[in-house]
């Protein structure tokens, strides 16, 4: 497949993820949007790997999968701690830090 088409699709996915982060205040929604962002980048990595018939981007993609999993673990544990304090996971509740 043409690299240009796949890159365009991954760009669109990336934009969708950014839109999701900017418009939502709910922690779980933001985590899902971040997963979309990272998966968009990974799609592009795989397309580049096929285009160059090289294995390096695929190695990076494997590492990114592991790192994204670790990131969601930390994110979910953070949201759990927030839920225990506030009773909700809405990030608009976080208003302790003011100037």
């Amino acid at each position: 497949m043409d690299l240009f088409i796949v890159t365009s699709i991954s760009m669109i996915l990336f934009a969708i993820g950014l839109y999701g982060i900017m418009t939502s205040n709910i922690g779980i929604k933001m985590l899902i949007s971040i997963e979309i962002l990272i998966n968009a980048a990974m799609l592009n990595l795989v397309a580049v790997a096929i285009n160059f018939s090289s294995v390096d981007p695929l190695i990076l993609a494997l590492f990114v999968i592991a790192i994204a999993a670790a990131e969601s673990v930390i994110g979910i544990s953070l949201l759990t701690a927030i839920y225990r304090k506030y009773g909700k996971v809405s990030l608009s509740l976080l208003r302790e830090i003011r100037w």
Partner: protein, 488 residues
């Protein structure tokens, strides 16, 4: 056959360089042993002592290594004096938050210190690496660790700071991965060598995405908003670490990626970094002028300091690789060393006040309670402003001198004007300490744990002023940055 021979070559080089891995392996073993010790009910001071000893031993191990240009694999790891210098700086940034952190550790201290050691391992690996995959993975190890450290106390403020840091940080990660894929599209390699001479559209996209991704951690102007809240909300020692360790790490990675990996695209780098640096300095200094919260003031000042730091990248982008570039990089290295002491020390000085959020009027009358501590804090603030007889003056002097040597005198003028603005808000704090009455009597926390790091870093700050003779040594180390580019 080809793959097989390359694997055997890599293994051969890896065993040759095995002496350089000992500090990393040692730190990892200590971290796991500490996690295992956590099932016994041991005092937190013991854990702090173990961590301090381990980090100190690993620093001595690194300093004792020969460091004569050993390359492992295809630029996967590179051990020379430049990478060693940044490794030692990053170790120092971890080393002196260990004991001040004790105050905030209510439960499970072993997890805090083990996480700190894992973060340090990630920092060291990315200091030594010239391969984007390894840099990315180790940088993410650092980021994941610092998300945990930021939310460690589990109070509302800590959780909010950690959440803001986490969400901006992961967005930065996504940008970095995307930028890396475009970097591969343009160059066909992940190792940082100057293989690309001309600039292409894919290279420009990679430049911008990688700049956004790592700029989030460096907290330069458009990507700085999380940093103000995160430094304000976290424990004092953790905010000291976030504003020194991870910031210097991001600066080092930016130097490596943009000056080595994008060697064919220096013109765009110059334009981008000049704009970002001028905006960071000016915006942060103006915003800090009207701050009443002392930690937020220091956070804004660290955004401004990041603006000074990336002047180095702009200058090298302007002049190209040569003697002026080496002087600029040496100035940046010295600035990083001084920055760790002055910024870390002034964030640790927040431990002197027994309040959750420290405002400027809270330090009023500190000079009457403890003159030595007040004087030390004043020296650190004067270092941040760049006033003589502190290391901050020497660092700024060499930075601006290298700018003038590179014919960027107008940029030097902007930077000097910004330092002049910054003097106002630093001196406001000093004025409150020395000439105002205290608001209440018993809100100062003048124990040895809070006083010692401030006094120690002030002494080092004054000592660094006289380290003029360090500059030729750093000048000799600076060409090590371009070691992978084949003898330029």
């Amino acid at each position: 056959m080809n793959i097989f021979s390359s694997i055997t070559y890599t293994l051969h080089a890896a065993t040759q360089a095995s002496i350089y891995y000992y500090p990393l392996i040692f730190l990892g073993i200590v971290a796991f042993v500490m996690l295992a010790l956590g099932i016994r009910n041991i005092d937190r001071k013991v854990f702090a002592g173990i961590t301090f000893a381990a980090v100190l031993i690993s620093m001595i191990m690194i300093l004792l290594d020969p460091y004569d240009e050993v390359v492992v694999g295809n630029n996967a790891l590179l051990f020379n004096r430049f990478t060693m210098f940044f490794a030692v700086i990053l170790i120092i940034s971890v080393l002196y938050i260990i004991f001040p952190a004790i105050r905030g550790l209510k439960s499970k201290p072993e997890i805090f210190y083990a996480t700190l050691l894992f973060v340090l391992i990630g920092m060291l690996v990315s200091a030594f690496s010239y391969n984007l995959i390894i840099i990315f993975v180790s940088f993410e190890a650092v980021s994941l660790g610092t998300y945990v450290l930021a939310g460690y106390g589990k109070q509302k403020r800590h959780l909010e700071a950690s959440a803001k840091y986490f969400f901006t940080g992961t967005i930065g990660t996504a940008f970095t991965v995307f930028g890396l894929s475009f970097f591969y599209t343009a160059t066909g390699t992940f190792s940082l060598t100057s293989e690309v001479i001309s600039s292409s559209p894919a290279m420009l996209i990679a430049l911008i995405f990688l700049l956004i991704g790592f700029g989030f951690k460096l907290a330069i102007f458009p990507m700085h908003q999380w940093a103000i809240d995160a430094y304000d909300g976290t424990e004092n020692s953790v905010s000291a670490f976030l504003s020194t360790g991870t910031k210097i790490l991001a600066f080092m990675i930016l130097i490596k990626i943009f000056l080595v990996g994008f060697a064919g695209d220096y013109h765009d780098i110059f334009l981008l970094f000049v704009i970002l640096s001028v905006f960071s300095m000016t915006y942060a200094n103006l915003a800090a002028l009207s701050q009443n919260n002392l930690k937020r003031l220091l956070a804004y000042s660290s955004v401004a300091q990041a603006g000074y730091l990336i002047l180095v990248i702009a200058l090298v982008g302007y002049t190209g690789i040569g003697n002026v570039a080496y002087v600029a990089i040496a100035a940046g290295m010295f600035y990083s060393l001084v920055y760790i002491f002055m910024k870390g020390g002034s964030f640790l000085a927040m431990n002197l006040v027994n309040r959750e959020s420290v405002s400027v009027s809270d330090v009023a009358g500190l000079a009457r309670k403890s003159p030595v501590t007040a004087l030390s804090f004043a020296i650190l603030l004067m270092g941040l402003a760049g006033i003589p007889f502190t290391g901050g003056f020497t660092a700024k002097y060499y930075l601006f001198l290298s700018l003038i040597e590179g014919n960027l005198w107008w940029l030097a003028v902007i930077a000097i004007l910004n330092s002049a603005i910054s003097v106002f808000y630093y001196f406001r704090v000093i004025m409150f300490m020395f000439w105002k009455e205290p608001t209440s009597e018993d809100h100062f926390n003048l124990t040895a744990y809070s006083k010692a790091p401030v006094i120690a870093s002030a002494v080092i700050m004054v000592a660094l002023f006289f380290f003029f003779y360090l500059l030729p040594t750093l000048n000799g180390m600076a060409p090590g940055l371009f070691a992978t580019m084949g003898g330029i």
